[in-house]
Symmetry: C2
Subunit: 252 residues, 2 copies
Amino acid sequence: MPPPELSVQPLDAGATFRNQVYRRLKQAIIQMDIYDHPGDVRLDERQLSGLLGVSRTPIREALTLLEQEGLVRLEPRRGIFVVRKTKAEIIEMIIAWAALESMATRLAAERATAEDIGTLWDIFRSFEEQAPSDNIQEYSDANIEFHKAIIRLSRARILETLTDNLFIHMRAIRKLSIRQDNRAEQSMHEHRDIIRALERRDGELAERLAREHTLGLAAHVERHGDFLDWLRLADVRGADVKAAFKDGLPLM
Amino acid sequence: MPPPELSVQPLDAGATFRNQVYRRLKQAIIQMDIYDHPGDVRLDERQLSGLLGVSRTPIREALTLLEQEGLVRLEPRRGIFVVRKTKAEIIEMIIAWAALESMATRLAAERATAEDIGTLWDIFRSFEEQAPSDNIQEYSDANIEFHKAIIRLSRARILETLTDNLFIHMRAIRKLSIRQDNRAEQSMHEHRDIIRALERRDGELAERLAREHTLGLAAHVERHGDFLDWLRLADVRGADVKAAFKDGLPLM
DNA sequence: ACATAGAATTTCGTATACCAGATACGCAGC
DNA sequence: GCTGCGTATCTGGTATACGAAATTCTATGT
């Protein structure tokens, strides 16, 4: 028997102001649903500094990260703007998502345990039960959760990381009508078929189904996603930013 | 005829110190071939500040970016270390690469012009002529260039961006013997077959060949990449960092 | 009223100062 | 010589100060 081992995690790894601000801002930007309202949303470093109770330094570093993730755009001496992806960009991202998820699905077919697949069925059923009418959003969080679950089964952390970054931007299409093209039902069937292919350990088929499913979404956005290029108007400023932080101002 | 339009690019967009330092450090890290020598390589903010002639602020922001790309690791109050990927991580990255490139290849089959494909043949021939003996590296820059060229033909910027970030880390396996498993010749044939599939506009086939080609590399690393987990020893510090910057110290 | 020039202000980029955690060093005790 | 402890030093994280470019405001002349 090996000697008993005392393994202690570092207490506050990643608890720097920079990282806290990063998480906080990211969450705020995601929640503010910029795709619902036209006009630029501008962030002000000083305002954020006051709002969060830290100096500009960690805020700037957090914004640097958010810029690299494509959530904000830093225009020197002009301002920091929350990014709204164009229709073309969203479609490209869905294509990349399809690529990564289909590969993940192939891996999952080899690596997932029977129990893992059971979990997929659980998720599948859990939002099969939702009345499709009360959820206007085609790609609600629940749906994304299903896809994330599959990708997790690939046991490939990098695929998770990369797709997570893509999924963030999928809030752009949450308002896409789910009735159009009868997508609700079709999407359901495709999910079911993917799980079945995984059960049969048919990686080739599972990969193809996953790819076609997600590329189908890309095609859907191609047809009905013009609204994405519509909203690009007035300057809003301040007010919205404050609203996003309405709960829980102090950072610590 | 549309009216003549005067479009002037901003002169210094992205010419901030932060971005210059970012590019400079990235290049330096890539060139320093950390995978050739064991031991941690540590970067010192103040030293870099003196070396590059700017204050710590833009340097820290650049390091923040490099951390997100996985090139360095910032350990609060302990140091900044150049990251060496593990064998498992490299394999995961190659798998992600395979996913993205196979999708890109599928798109390329639809979108590439005949001229584009001609360019691929050019690249193909250009490093077919190299005596295979003088290039020890499996994934030489020329080879990567071929893959980048294909991905570019997909006309999907995001696929380019994502794969570029992955390719950076492929320097880890440049020293993989190309003789093993007769990979030089096999790789050549596979490249040729991919171009042919593109010529025939057979997206399905091109995608599969691209995927299998790159997954083949993953398998190769799985078999022969143990050396990646070997080198993890003493602390080197300072000296190597300076060497990497030996040419062109001042930033501007 | 309107257009315009110039000053005041805003805002991000950069430099510098300070802080606290982590390490390294040296001294004391054995 | 080795161990343990306390202090000096180093290092990254954060706050603050300053600078320059861009915007906004304002006063002025028509």
